[in-house]
């Protein structure tokens, strides 16, 4: 029998309470939320044992629309939950379905839009909003329903730092309204700033509630277990305190007693002096037909290092990557690969030398079994059968996919799909590997796996190019950073330099990680990761 998605869950949430739910991917967080409004029982076909009561209503017995007057859910992906053409239509959609009077609906909608800061955009087309604005709109739509409870399922997972901050500002205001809020969120560094002593943190693991208590108790007492056993990310300041044995454990920078730290050591700058460019971009311009997406872009990608391209959603990162691999043709300017103009090279050799892992791995799959998928690139290059066999065996094992070799790639789990997409690219032994947003929606374990993989590839001399807006990930793996804003490169250099350039960070809507903020406060702005922080302190203890 299949193991249940939720297993003997007992949970009581009080009126006006703020509850943060954390858990690794697949731990049952979303399932729990959708059981509360009856979607799980009525729409997904989930079977429930036990009893749920939400403000006196049983979602298993009530119709979904009846629950919709009690609990509103804001979903993870902004694109799937907004169905109307304009911002105003989206907010009034719910109350219109409930046959509320027109005047009442208009008042509620206007007030909700003002609350999330979108009133000025009420006549705008939804498709033209940024990711952060779309999620704020989804919150406004939930507010206009005037429900007692608002539940949010990772509302910032797809957003860049600017959009994430916008949404958290709105959640902070919601909290002040004393609404009952249930928030599922991976970005604990942002959410920790919102938590008060009497809020609650619930930890789910394999469908079970394994921890349930006040934020300080959960993070300070059980932080280690959360990291090591449940594979969860902790707020950076908490993780740092736990690793250094500092008590009482501060939850955020505001609580840090700086006198407890005395660090003078300088973290080694990860950027090596390798200046041999493998890719050179000169005066690149690109347009889809209505205005330039890329405008006079110049930079070099050093060989054998990890270059991370950062910028807000829509800044031109993916367009730039697609120009680099030749999927798009520059409108102006040129791209040199190993000194040779990319446009003059044979596509077959370009795709062998430059691998590309797309944001959604399933887009890359072209065969019916995992084994065929891994072998595909070698087969179309007419390699010897025995070589193909031995290499595919090696890569199936290397990426832990040997037990799934006969399965259809589209039936794999998200983690397996991601590993398969890496395997299909790496088996061709590329000189450069491009990754487009590889950590969106990934939990701590998967992100750590990716960081290790990147280090391994780098040690093999592979040049890595990553597009991301995850600042912690950037701090952990980048040797070289390119910041792109409105189609222009506004910075190229090492990560430390970027994190200390407040002006660039503000312009590009980026934010440095809390550990760097703390290190800067302590006079060591060279430190950007928890590992560096701990190492520096350890060195000092030794000396």
């Amino acid at each position: 029998m299949e193991s249940p998605s939720l297993d003997r869950v007992n949970l009581e949430i009080n009126d006006g309470e703020f509850v943060l739910i954390v858990g690794a991917s697949g731990s049952g967080k979303s399932t729990l939320l959708f059981a509360l409004n009856g979607i799980l029982q009525h729409e997904i076909g989930g079977r429930i044992k036990g009893h749920i009561e939400v403000n006196g209503k049983n979602p298993t017995e009530k119709e979904v629309f009846e629950m919709a007057t009690t609990i509103s859910i804001v979903m993870q992906d902004p694109e799937v939950q907004l169905t109307q053409m304009t911002v105003f239509d989206e907010v009034v959609f719910g109350p219109e379905n409930l046959l509320r009077p027109k005047e009442e609906i208009i008042l509620a909608a206007e007030s909700a839009l003002k609350f999330v800061g979108l009133y000025e955009k009420k006549d705008c087309i939804v498709n033209e909003l940024s990711g952060g604005q779309k999620q704020r709109l989804a919150i406004a739509a939930a507010l206009a329903m005037n429900t007692e409870i608002i539940a949010m399922d990772e509302p910032t997972a797809h957003l860049d730092p600017k959009g994430t901050n916008e949404v958290f500002q709105v959640i902070k205001k919601l909290k002040e309204l004393k609404k009952t809020i249930i928030l599922v969120e991976h970005k604990v560094d942002n959410v920790i700033e919102l938590l008060d002593e009497d809020d609650r943190v619930v930890v789910l693991d394999n469908g079970k509630i394994v921890l349930n208590g006040r934020p300080r108790e959960i993070f300070a007492k059980h932080g280690r277990v959360m990291m090591d056993e449940f594979g969860l990310a902790l707020p950076q300041i908490v993780e740092l305190a736990l690793r250094l044995g500092i008590t009482p454990v501060p939850l955020h920078i505001g609580e840090v007693d700086c006198s407890k730290f005395d660090i003078n050591a300088i973290a080694s700058n990860r950027s090596s002096k390798n200046n041999i460019p493998i890719i050179t971009v000169k005066d690149l311009e690109f347009s889809y037909g209505n205005g330039n997406v890329l405008n006079g872009v110049n930079f070099t990608i050093p060989q054998g290092l990890t270059t991370v391209i950062v910028g807000q959603n829509g800044s031109g990162k993916s367009t730039l990557l697609q120009n680099i691999i030749g999927l798009l043709k520059p409108t102006k300017g040129k791209i040199l690969f190993n000194g040779v103009e990319l446009s003059s090279l044979d596509k077959k050799s370009v795709f062998r030398d430059i691998g590309y892992v797309f944001q959604y791995p399933e887009h890359q799959f072209v065969t019916k079994t995992v084994k065929d998928e891994i072998e595909y690139g070698l087969k179309i290059r007419n390699l010897d059968k025995s070589i193909i066999e031995s290499k595919s065996k090696e890569f199936l094992e290397m990426f832990g996919l040997e037990k799934t070799e006969d399965r259809h790639p589209l039936t794999l789990s998200m983690g397996e799909k991601r590993r398969l997409s890496f395997a299909t690219m790496l088996i061709l032994e590329p000189k450069v590997l491009i990754m487009d947003e590889p950590v969106i929606g990934q939990d701590r374990r998967r992100t750590q796996y990716l960081i290790k993989l990147i280090d391994k590839l780098k040690s093999q001399g592979i040049t890595i190019i990553i597009a991301t807006h995850d600042m912690n990930f950037l701090a952990q793996c980048a040797d070289n950073v390119i910041v792109i804003n409105e189609g222009k490169v506004i910075f190229q250099g090492d990560v430390v330099e970027l994190f200390n350039e407040k002006r660039i960070l503000t312009t590009a809507g980026l934010d440095d990680p809390p550990v760097h903020k703390l290190a800067t406060k302590l006079g060591c702005p060279e430190i950007i990761t928890i590992e560096q922080f701990c190492t520096c302190l350890a060195k000092q203890v030794v000396t």
Partner: protein, 254 residues
């Protein structure tokens, strides 16, 4: 992505007109063109449309010319085919002109009709079921998303080397198959999530709903439509004849 003839806000007479009225007007023009078999009448109607586009919709002549240029090769082909197959020069010319004449009201409609108002008008004025309007809204939201997804899949396959391997008709068929699979999975996944999202907003709770946005046909809209309906019947029963109708659908019976 911006389409060539998509809606552009403005304050012309056609902008102010109720979309359903405009839609019916378009249908009347098409019907009129169906029963017009002499090129002079069709040319007259085409010129009238251009005049209406210029004055009523405040469109530039060059803008309308661009639309005509796009359809011109097809119109010419239809004309020549009719001239050579049926051997009737005037009838052939009328056929080609019909194609040109049907384009102008289409362009006027698309350039002056706010898709949002169209949806509400279809539901409130023409009494289409709300589900129909909801589907138009959803399509308007999701088509660009699916377009991006299709683009991403195609690019991912190019990088994998699919273009190198799959050539010829069988190759193209296979390529279509492997593109459709992940796209369909994406469509199904999104549809399920969207269905969950709208249920969460009480969609379908009651057979009817409140409308905060109300649109209706004005007195002038109705007069405009009535004038065209009258014009249609006058042409059909006086200037045109039932035999012209017959010749439209069965030209060989002449």
């Amino acid at each position: 992505m911006k389409l060539k003839f998509q809606y552009r806000p403005g304050n012309s007479l056609f902008h102010k007109m109720d979309p359903s009225i405009k839609f019916i007007w378009m249908v009347i023009i098409v019907l009129l063109l169906f029963i017009m078999t002499d090129p002079f009448s069709v040319l007259g109607l085409l010129l009238l449309q251009i005049l209406m586009g210029k004055i009523g919709a405040k469109m530039g002549l060059s803008e309308m010319a661009r639309a005509l240029v796009i359809i011109a090769p097809a119109a010419l082909t239809v004309s020549l085919l009719n001239i050579f197959v049926i051997g009737d020069l005037l009838y052939g010319a009328a056929m080609g002109l019909r194609m040109l004449a049907v384009v102008i009201p289409g362009v006027i409609f698309s350039k002056t009709t706010d898709p949002r108002r169209l949806t509400f008008s279809l539901v409130q004025v023409l009494k289409f079921p709300y589900m129909f309007g909801f589907m138009i809204n959803t399509a308007y939201r999701f088509v660009p998303i699916f377009e991006d997804e299709l683009n991403s899949i195609t690019n991912a396959h190019i990088v994998r080397g699919v273009d190198m391997e799959l050539k010829g008709i069988r190759g193209r068929f296979k390529k279509l198959q492997i593109t459709v699979e992940p796209l369909l999975i994406g469509v199904i996944r999104r549809s399920q999530l969207t269905s969950m999202a709208v249920q969460n907003r009480a969609f379908g709770a009651y057979p009817n709903r409140t409308y905060t946005y109300v649109t209706k046909a004005t007195k002038w809209d109705k007069i405009f439509l009535a004038a065209w309906i009258i014009a249609f019947f006058i042409y059909a029963f006086t200037l045109g004849t039932p035999s012209q109708l017959l010749s439209t659908f069965m030209p060989w019976a002449k």
